[in-house]
């Protein structure tokens, strides 16, 4: 099966589409959560920034700052503290995040009264009241600027934006993490569910695969989903119709052949009567020709029946232990009469012991009978036909040898075709004999060989294998 013939896998497609849409929906909703969280966090931080600056501004007096300038600067200076030696962010000497917070107090917009050590001496933001975003040394800061009429000072309070981002990221990440863990589990659950759901389809495929064209078995009602049941029901209906039409087709040939037998027998008897009771030699010639025609027709009907019997699917339980020797002996009796008519010598060379083989008796007998019939039919009057049955530990062989015209090598394959008759052959055959033999040989795994006999006739060899 090429990939194109195989088609796409329903299971893979369902898993891909379900998981894909789940991931997309999750990403979209996480993005929404992220934006929302960020907005809320910003509002909270902004409010806290504004409140802190208000309290700070209320406490600030330029005079006090100037008086305590040294100690204030010293207290605010954190340059000497090495926070990196601590694992925790909160240390006995302060917090690692202090560098991300800053303030400046300006007097008359020019004189920097006080600042935190994390910031430069330039104004960290334009001295206009309100919030703004500024970039200082590659970092984005959020600042709030407030002016005090009373003390005539400007206060700028700032926070590095990544503090806020950190919280937002933490919240968003905490949302994403369970989803990432859930994903493979979810994929597994989906896979199992789909596998279970399409399992009946696989059983159906197995059932249909097993079916024998000649005897379609309907699917048993199982505890299957509705969607599969309707398919099953439709298939069962189809199977039933196919079975019926096969039975009809199979019966037709054999029915026709049977129905032809009575009128044929009557025709034959009346013809024989006419020949026996007629004294006009001219008419007798005509009647004898008629008899030949009837004989051919009878043979054809018999062969059609034999073919319809052989031409079907054979069940293993039809095989049984069959004695090849007694079949040959029966045939010897059966063909005695036919051989006598053409004054042919029909001889049998049979072993003394019975030969047990596994076969369908009626077919096996019909196969050998057809070979003997062919040999007698296609050999001239007075000729001899020999049937040899050989049996040893390794193989069993049946040979039917005649002294007729033989068959050329180029025709040996064709003579087994249905209704094929060798051009110019004058005997009254049906053209079915060897195709019947071939079919029965196939059923019994018999090796069928068409050879030349030493005196120019045909030698047919059947070799029975015991592996069967």
């Amino acid at each position: 099966m090429t990939d194109k013939e195989r088609g796409y896998s329903l299971k893979n497609r369902l898993i891909k589409q379900l998981l894909g849409s789940f991931v997309i929906i999750t990403i979209l909703s996480l993005f929404g959560i992220y934006l929302d969280t960020r907005h809320e966090v910003e509002e909270l931080f902004d409010a806290s920034l504004a409140q802190t600056s208000r309290v700070l501004l209320g406490l600030l007096h330029p005079e006090t700052i100037k008086q305590n300038n040294d100690s204030l600067h010293k207290s605010l200076d954190i340059h000497d503290i090495d926070f990196d030696i601590f694992d925790e962010e909160a240390t006995p000497y302060g917090h690692k995040y202090e560098k991300k917070l800053a303030f400046q107090v300006w007097e008359n917009k020019q004189n920097l009264l006080l600042k935190s050590s994390s910031i430069d001496i330039k104004p960290m933001a334009p001295l206009n009241p309100g919030f703004s975003y500024v970039t200082i040394e590659d970092y984005r800061w959020r600042t709030f600027c407030l002016y005090s009429e009373h003390s005539k000072v400007w206060l700028i309070v700032g926070e590095r934006d990544d503090i806020r981002g950190e919280l937002t990221h933490d919240i968003a990440f905490n949302h994403i993490l369970p989803v990432i863990f859930i994903l493979p589990f979810l994929a597994g659950v989906i896979w199992l569910t789909i596998s279970k759901a399409i399992h009946p389809l696989q059983s159906l495929v197995n059932h249909v695969d097993k079916q024998n064209y000649h005897q379609l078995e309907s699917v048993d009602k199982k505890n299957w989903p509705y969607e599969v049941n309707i398919l099953t029901r439709a298939m069962n209906h189809l199977f039933q119709r196919l079975n019926q039409s096969y039975q009809r087709e199979k019966r037709f040939t054999s029915d026709v052949a049977h129905e032809l037998r009575n009128p044929l027998a009557a025709l034959s008897v009346h013809n024989d009567n006419a020949i026996a009771e007629n004294n006009d030699s001219g008419i007798t010639d005509i009647l004898v020709n008629m008899r030949r025609g009837i004989g051919r027709l009878s043979h054809l009907v018999a062969q059609l029946l034999a073919l319809s019997r052989a031409d079907r699917e054979v069940q293993a339980d039809e095989f049984s232990k069959v004695d090849l020797l007694s079949i040959c002996q029966q045939l010897q009796q059966q063909f005695e009469f036919q051989a006598e008519i053409k004054e042919q010598k029909l001889s049998f060379q049979l072993p003394d012991e019975p030969i047990e083989i596994s076969a369908i008796e009626v077919l096996l007998s019909s196969m050998i009978a057809n070979l003997i019939d062919n040999a007698l039919r296609y050999s001239p009057p007075g000729s001899s036909v020999q049937v040899i049955c050989e049996h040893n530990a390794e193989l069993t062989k049946v040979i039917v040898e005649d002294s007729g015209q033989g068959i050329g090598d180029e025709l040996k394959a064709r003579v087994m075709d249905r209704f094929y008759r060798i051009p110019g052959s004058r005997a009254t055959g049906s053209g079915l004999g060897l195709s019947i033999v071939k079919r029965i040989a196939e059923i019994h795994h018999v090796d069928l060989q068409l050879l030349d006999s030493p005196d120019g006739g045909l030698k047919v060899q059947l070799i029975f294998s015991f592996s069967h």
Binding site: R261, N262, P263, L264, A266, S268, V269, N273, E277, I294
Partner: protein
């Protein structure tokens, strides 16, 4: 020899009756299975040719009934059925021979002869009766080697005596054997045939048993 032919195909039955009559057999022909069984139970026949597919009663059932009643009449089954099961069950039930339609008339006649020979224990088909010899294969009769021409009825009558050598046969029985049910029998027909037989062969051949019938006297 009186044969019952049971065959529901009119065309075939007709032809067979004609053919067998030509072979000097007396043939009674029935088309129905039930009637056939009745006839076989009440009348005496030397052989029955039986089709299997019959109206009234299946051929196989007829065989079963006959054999159950210890009726040993030779049965030749003539049928369009040729499956092995049919063949085997027919023979198993007690049929003596089996011929599948269509058949050669000569083969049918040969089988009838073989069957009656077997039934009446003639191993050699040639019958030797003192000065007379008979070849049933072609209905020829010889008196000390000279062929004697007998009519169909005369031959049938002679064979009836040959097949029942030790018995006395009544005139009524000989009439049914020779004429069946079909023909009206002249009251002295049997006497005429016996007279002819004695004249053509030799007078002492058939002995008259007054008031009982006739019997065969074989002089060596």
């Amino acid at each position: 020899m009186r044969i019952l032919l049971v065959e529901d195909d009119e065309l075939l039955g007709n032809g067979l009756k004609r053919a067998l009559s030509r072979e000097s057999y007396l043939v009674d022909w029935l088309l129905d299975g039930k009637q056939a069984l009745q006839a076989l139970q009440t009348d005496e026949f030397s052989l029955v040719i039986l089709d299997l597919t019959l109206p009234g009663m299946d051929g196989l059932d007829i065989i079963k009934n006959l054999r159950k009643a210890k009726n040993e009449i030779p049965i030749l089954v003539l049928t369009a059925r040729d499956s092995l099961t049919d063949k085997v069950s027919g023979l198993d039930l007690g049929a003596d021979d089996y011929l599948v339609k269509p058949f050669e008339l000569s083969e049918l006649v040969a089988r009838i002869r073989a069957l009656s020979r077997r039934h009446y224990n003639h191993i050699d088909p040639h019958i030797e009766l003192g000065r007379i010899s008979i070849n049933p294969n072609n209905n020829e009769v010889f008196l000390e080697g000279i062929p004697i021409h007998l009519s169909r009825r005369e031959y049938a009558l002679l064979m009836e005596f040959v097949n029942h050598k030790q018995q006395i046969l009544s005139r009524a029985k000989l009439e049914t054997v020779l004429y069946g049910w079909d023909e009206d029998v002249e009251s002295n027909a049997i006497e005429v045939h016996i007279h002819n037989l004695r004249k053509k062969l030799y007078p002492e051949l058939i002995k008259t048993r007054r008031g009982i019938g006739y019997s065969l006297e074989v002089l060596s």
